[in-house]
Symmetry: C2
Subunit: 148 residues, 2 copies
């Protein structure tokens, strides 16, 4: 059994809940996507593989995955919530271009110790890291200057 399956099962059982077929399909899809995803992308992914699950169930399952620590809600773009799985993935900064929508990730290594220190000072239990810098990537910045 894959680790994320074991962890999710444990999380659910601790709450008296079950790892059902739809939840298993969602879990697998989430870990098959190696990038940020939103509900629509997840829904499409499942449909393509003939594993249709209703949107309602996806919307209900994502918070469970967040609470279990397997994924996090890491950014919001174009009026949608985006998630990513975090099991074994180091935290990172997101650089989001407001024009072309590209999301670049960079390491958080240099910054994490400071954040963790502040967290423990105020006894804050971090669940999601939403460390996003929004602005213009160099390509779009160059284009803006050209068109002036």
């Amino acid at each position: 059994m894959k680790e994320y399956e074991r962890l999710f099962t444990e999380y659910l059982e601790a709450k008296g809940q079950r790892l059902t077929q739809p939840r298993r399909l969602i879990l697998e899809a989430v870990f098959s996507l190696h990038d940020h995803f939103d509900v629509e992308q997840l829904y499409d992914r499942l449909r393509i593989h003939n594993e249709e699950v209703s949107r309602a169930t996806i919307y209900r399952t994502l918070p469970l995955l967040v609470e279990s620590g397997l994924i996090q809600h890491s950014l919001r773009q174009a009026d949608r919530d985006f998630y990513e799985h975090i099991l074994g993935h180091p935290q990172h900064l997101h650089w989001i271009c407001r024009k072309c929508g590209t999301v670049v990730e960079t390491s958080l290594e240099m910054v994490l110790p400071h954040i963790n220190k502040v967290a423990s000072q105020q006894r804050f239990q971090i669940e999601d890291y939403q460390l996003n810098l929004r602005g213009l990537c160099w390509k779009c910045a160059d284009n803006e200057n050209e068109n002036q």
Copy 2:
């Protein structure tokens, strides 16, 4: 004339736009609030002072203030966008409790040099800093443990 008024006027004029009465009222209200605010809070604030401006105008003006660099869209909470004015306010981290909704700010001083270095390396023009840590504050964490 206050500096933010001068800056906003300059920004608007450069785009062939005008500092109208509703925009001036919104600008003043934004700088009278010394905390994060959303559209509803701004709207209420204006009404209380008998300076009613339509929600539509508020929604249209906020992006102008963001683009002019006077405010930033710094967090999203309870399905609402929150802004804060940044003129003269150093950037900071937000610690958001998912349970009680409290938002604590801490200094970014230790982290900003790293972020700026990465930004210049990839020639990314930062417009908004959305550096948010979500989780449980110590009070809510204690409560959760009690109720188990």
